[in-house]
Symmetry: C2
Subunit: 454 residues, 2 copies
């Protein structure tokens, strides 16, 4: 007999099925045992009656949550009034005739049945292989997978070509700070902080490119906003007028994204009880304008700062929502000295750049802008930072041999996911977070393993 999927049981009342999955919960009522069993298509209720199969009942009485089982049974309609409206399969239940254990789970270290796990985030991360199975986490990372798909579909539709960008680099993109060092056959190499150089090079090849991959920041911050390895949704394209072309593209993407999520992961959105933002006209302020508003509305001196602080980001988002009716706001014209050497200065606003950040629900989720495409201007910008153009000779070839006016952006996938699902800490939306204290397990624990000899 071929395996049936749990979702199929809805339409198989009266028929025999072979199901396989994980025990989600078990309830004993007198001699009857009830199990909720899930596979990748859903969850359905099993009834194990010793009068139907003594052997199945014996096996079931030893079952616990997360055991993996295979079972044969008959699909019955549930009696009127006993339906479960929370389950897509809530109109049926399975009368179990045969039951087999495929994989025996140890008893769980904490209760798994509640809507929220009764443990703090650190403990949840210590047990990530288990806690990711919790319905809440399943929902978060299904939504994340669809965000990624939406980004790709949106760009592919617009003739962007996907590229594979390397993560081992000989030169740091942003000029040296905060990079992880790799021993590359005796030569010091670095983990890429972004695919910046490669996506710009590829504008010379395909004009419009995108790439999705992990990027690295060796920042020692231990905050709810930072992880040291994250996923960057990157795009770059040529023949732009200025940074506003990139802003317009991002707005179009957001207008595409949320209806797409509403269509593809509606059950997850409902389970999490979250509200997707609506995207209308997204306001845009120069950094200095935003700072003036913060000074005026929130009575804090911030105009002397080269960028917004986390508190500034929360404040200006609150302002945008309350006064401008948008959960999104672009902040443009960061100072030349506080953007990387490839950032295009704005001739009409000396000292400031044609770059932008996008803030959403209190946090920066995108950085982008127009880049310098003229070879001589770029070399001069590199020199101004005290860097040596010779170290960038590979990258510079793209400009030496003709690159159009171009620009792009990078969206932090985990931050965007976190804000969509209402997670307070970006780690909740990072599948296996790496930070200053953790690579899967706490670093202290790993060090201890090291000491014991490997």
């Amino acid at each position: 007999m071929e395996r049936n999927l749990i979702i199929e049981t809805i339409e198989k009342v009266g028929q025999e099925v072979l199901l396989k999955g994980w025990v989600e919960s078990r309830r004993d009522h007198g001699k009857l045992i009830f199990l909720d069993v899930r596979d990748h298509t859903g969850t359905v209720q099993m009834v194990i009656n010793p009068k139907v199969s003594e052997e199945a009942h014996k096996t079931a009485s030893g079952l616990s949550v997360q055991d993996v089982i295979s079972l044969m049974g008959k699909v019955n309609a549930r009696p009127k009034g006993a339906e479960n409206p929370d389950l897509p399969t809530g109109t049926v239940e399975i009368e179990v005739k045969k039951l087999e254990m495929l994989s025996d789970a140890e008893s769980l270290p904490f209760d798994f049945g509640a809507r929220e796990l009764p443990i703090n985030l650190d403990t949840a991360l210590d047990f990530r292989p288990l806690t990711l199975r919790h319905p809440k986490n399943q929902a978060i990372f299904r939504i994340q997978a669809e965000i990624v798909k939406a980004f790709r579909d949106f760009l592919t539709e617009r003739s962007f070509v996907e590229i594979q960008s390397p993560k081992i680099t000989a030169e740091s993109t942003e000029g040296g700070a905060n990079v992880f060092r790799v021993d590359y056959f005796g030569l010091p190499a670095y983990l890429a902080q972004s695919p910046q150089f490669y996506k710009q090079i590829m504008v010379g090849v395909y004009e419009r490119v995108f790439t999705i991959g992990q990027v690295y920041r060796a920042e020692e911050h231990n905050t709810t906003r930072h992880v040291n390895e994250y996923t960057s949704l990157d795009l770059e394209f040529g023949f732009i007028q200025d940074h506003t072309d990139i802003i317009d593209l991002e707005i179009d993407f957001l207008k595409y994204l949320f209806p797409y999520l509403d269509e593809t992961v509606k059950p997850e959105i409902e389970f999490l009880g979250i509200k997707l933002p609506t995207v209308g006209d997204v306001p845009s302020l120069k950094l200095r304008e935003a700072q003036a508003i913060i000074e005026r509305e929130f009575d804090r001196k911030v105009s002397h700062e080269p960028d917004l602080s986390p508190q500034d980001e929360r404040d200006i988002c609150q302002y945008a929502q309350e006064k401008l009716g948008s959960e999104f706001i672009f902040i443009t014209h960061q100072p030349v000295d506080h953007r990387p050497m490839y950032t295009m200065p704005d001739e009409a606003d000396p000292g400031y750049t044609k770059s932008f950040d996008l803030l959403f629900r209190g946090i920066e989720i995108t950085t982008g802008g127009q880049r310098i495409h003229d070879y001589d201007q770029l070399v001069s910008s590199i020199k101004k930072r005290g860097l040596s153009p010779e170290n960038f000779s590979f990258y510079l070839m793209a400009f030496k041999y003709g690159l159009p006016p171009e620009g792009g952006l990078a969206i932090g996938l985990e931050r965007l996911t976190a804000k969509i699902v209402g997670a307070e800490n970006v780690r909740e939306a990072t599948l296996f977070p790496r930070d200053v204290t953790r690579i899967d397990l706490p670093l202290a624990k790993i060090k201890n393993h090291e000491k014991k000899g490997r």
Copy 2:
């Protein structure tokens, strides 16, 4: 005026257009200048006649290949007999009225016009930002992008969920050899050799998962088959009977892939003059059977070897094509001692595993197999290799808390691409190859930069 795309000119005869792109070639015939100009949609011929615009003619007479230009002109039908059947836009040409230089390219270090660049691979890689623009390379990486898309579409259709797998790990997947070391805040960490542990963990969450990303092997081989950073197309799924379920899925993927490529990148396939394989019944041989055939048919002693050599792979592929009518062949049942600790042994064939490689046109492009899903069996397998289960405690949680029988595979994207496009060296199908001699530029050159001080 809004920019028009070059492909649109076919349907705009008699109309004014604004085009932007790269000069691909220039030919002077008396006072007329002919340019081929490309954007991301195609290439079209421009005619610059001083009688139409003296200024445009003056600008054009200074143009060289790879210059980036913007131009306004009128679309004319080409005279009968002057059509170019090689170009989709070969029925039209543009009478240029205004011409502007957007980015001035230096003169190229070698002739760019031929079907094959007149330089060796090493030089081509030294100039990668330029040479990737050559039509041959444009075709190769467009095909690669579609392979990636086909893999995702195929799996998404089958309810596989995409995951983002970390690249920084605390433990090497394969047990210690050939890993790049990263300084992670003072702790030695490693670059992932594969997403193996994470995709297995995620089978416990979504049952069926896939992930696409870079993986790392610090192998000092300098061969046409190896690069040190490559892209792995990974999938993993639960509730399998054995490794043949995975083989069957891969055959289904191949049957999907090639018709898909034929549909989406037909011009590139034709430009490269390549022939896509047909996928029928793909033969499968145990490693020992393959070795016996090689001994018999190619008269070389190989049976004592634990795996196929590169020459063996070429030979058995030749045999499969000539005698079994397939460009693909699965080799199964590698010895337990030569597969990683997570590989499922075959009880029916002691000492050998339920694992497989897929060979295609003389090279291994996939490794896969059933994994051990039982916690105790896995711990015992780890110990047998002299490894400490404590070092794998995070990974082991997935098994401790119930994992079904499962398995998966990994396809090397660059190798598959290389074999499809007929490239002899995997570097030709690697966008920015990293190997023992090169990160973008030759390592010797980078070392020289380092010495000069940074």
